[in-house]
């Protein structure tokens, strides 16, 4: 019930406070975690302990996306030059603070995983291009130590990769003012969509730089993994919508986020998430026959649209979520 004593205006005056830079960071962190979870779990259950194309591309993505994501995260601050304050002051009731702690363990781990996956390449560059013998022997010694600890490092990396994906969900699900965000499914939705984006990015990078064969064991596994992941993603988005539909007054107001007549951000969901993210990959792979499904261009468009879909999902949640607040 609206009473005359209720204040209906705030200091944000309807502006979205956390914008696209946070959205891009959420996608990059999710893709990094998702790619590494897939590749390292695959490696654990595989008899092939060589550095496969899958592992190489996933570790390349794992390190670069999260490092690039940091740039966006710091750039979004109002006092970016003071970002180091977050590293020396901790508040463990804050999801952001917990996330920073986790990420400062995770980024070095992704770098170590990257070095282990590209061990041969790094050594050959050192021997043939740089030619500083002391540096080369140092690197050889380091990789020897790393090799012994490799299973432990990989397990820790899997753990922290999951933590990174899930924390990005908790980061915005604690915002009580926004019913679209303040839901229980958000952390797991971010984990699953992270797997989708990470898997798609791994496939594309692997094809572009490491392996030209679409039908190798790893690539067909990634491809088959795509559909159950997408199914769970659709299920979670449906759960989110239903929880708002059957919710209280605040949640029903937030349901307008999906209404194209109420807000333009709804297009981001229906066109970006449903159309591009789910529709295009499904259509290309199942609707137009095997000739299209096995073509090169369908492979690229399908992978790219998965990533764009995940980006649209995060941006939609951020913008539409902050538009309809209590």
């Amino acid at each position: 019930m609206q009473m005359v004593i209720d204040m209906t205006e705030g200091f944000s005056h309807g502006h979205v406070i956390w914008g696209w830079m946070i959205g891009v960071y959420l996608v990059l962190a999710g893709a990094s975690g998702g790619a590494l979870v897939i590749a390292l779990v695959r490696r654990h259950y595989s008899v092939n302990k060589e550095n496969t194309a899958l592992l190489k591309s996933a570790s390349l993505i794992g390190f670069t996306t999260v490092a690039f994501g940091m740039v966006f995260l710091v750039a979004d601050l109002h006092r970016p030059l003071y970002f180091w304050k977050i590293l020396i002051n901790y508040n463990f009731t804050s999801v952001m603070s917990i996330g920073v702690a986790a990420i400062s363990i995770y980024i070095p781990l992704t770098l170590v995983v990257f070095i282990m996956a590209f061990e041969e390449e790094i050594k050959s560059i050192l021997e043939n291009k740089i030619k500083i013998s002391k540096l080369t022997t140092l690197v050889v010694e380091i990789t020897k130590i790393l090799k012994k600890a490799r299973p432990t490092i990989e397990f820790t990396t899997i753990f922290f990769a999951i933590v990174i994906c899930v924390y990005t969900g908790f980061l915005i699900s604690v915002l009580v003012r926004f019913p679209l965000l303040n839901t229980a499914v958000l952390p797991i939705l971010f984990m699953v969509s992270g797997l989708a984006a990470g898997g798609a990015a791994t496939r594309l990078v692997s094809y572009l730089f490491f392996e030209k064969d679409h039908h190798s064991l790893d690539m067909s596994l990634l491809h088959r993994l795509e559909w159950p992941v997408m199914f769970i993603e659709i299920l979670l988005v449906a759960m989110l919508i239903v929880s708002l539909l059957i919710g209280n007054e605040y949640q029903k107001i937030a349901m307008q986020a999906f209404d194209v007549y109420a807000t333009g951000w709804a297009y981001l969901f229906w066109v970006g998430v449903v159309g591009i993210g789910f529709g295009i990959p499904l259509a290309l792979n199942f609707l137009f026959g095997s000739k299209v499904a096995h073509s090169n261009w369908a492979f690229f468009i399908s992978g790219a649209s998965s990533i764009v879909g995940v980006l649209c999902l995060r941006l939609f949640l951020l913008y539409a979520g902050q538009t309809f607040g209590a």
Binding site: E9, S12, D76, L77, S94
Partner: protein, 224 residues
């Protein structure tokens, strides 16, 4: 041997219960006195008295030196457009929640509770401007200062007046109509406590679960 050990056992029980009893009593005494000392500052906004002159806003600007385009508090006009004769206003400002989300989410603990007064305030030096507190606030009453790029909230003029010996916040002093009352809710002798004993008051969005401290006395149409 068995008799002896039984005696020791009984002795042990006796001494133990004595120690626990007195110790527990001493501890409970201590927490009681601590609770007495702890303050819970709050403010009443009385809608029946406010005329919407907004002199509180001007006072806030001059006391807290916020940029001209920004406020730590403002008066929202809630007059029904179909019934403009009955003017209604409401104060929009930090609700000083007892379980404040802004304090919980601040990654650098820049947004914190003052150790003496328990008022939610800012240590601007540690603020990195991440705006997490802005989005976490259920009332949307926090902002990033355009000049300093630090987050700010209404802290009852803690830094600008109370710590310098002032008795009440700037807005309370400026209000000519006694629409704002400031004081300690835990002290039953203060004016604010005595008003709340006899008048009905409401809180903004209490369902958000953050225990807001501000009390609002709503104007009710005659004859209801």
């Amino acid at each position: 041997m068995s008799v002896k050990s039984r005696r020791n056992f009984l002795k042990g029980i006796g001494i133990g219960s004595l120690a626990l009893g007195t110790g527990g009593y001493a501890l409970s005494e201590k927490t009681q006195t601590e609770q007495k000392l702890k303050k819970h500052f709050s403010m009443i906004y009385d809608q029946t008295k406010c005329v919407g002159c907004a002199e509180c806003e001007d006072a806030c600007h001059s006391v807290n030196l916020v940029p001209a385009a920004q406020n730590r508090m403002f008066i929202q006009d809630r007059t029904d457009p179909l019934n403009v004769k009955e003017r209604r206003f409401v104060r929009v400002s930090c609700q000083q929640c007892e379980d404040a989300p802004c304090v919980n989410v601040c990654p650098t603990a820049a947004c914190h509770r003052d150790s003496i007064t328990d008022i939610v305030t800012m240590n601007g030096d540690d603020c990195i401007g991440c705006a997490y507190c802005l989005v976490a606030c259920p009332y949307d009453v926090r902002f990033i200062n355009e000049e300093t790029n630090m987050a700010e909230n209404c802290d009852f003029c803690l830094k600008s007046r109370l710590e310098k010996g002032g008795e009440v916040p700037g807005c309370v002093e400026a209000c000519k109509y006694d629409a704002l009352v400031f004081g300690d809710l835990n002290d039953k002798k203060t004016i604010i406590s005595r008003i709340l004993e006899i008048k009905d008051s409401v809180r903004q969005k209490p369902e958000m679960g953050t225990k807001p401290s501000l009390r609002y006395i709503p104007a009710v149409r005659q004859g209801v």
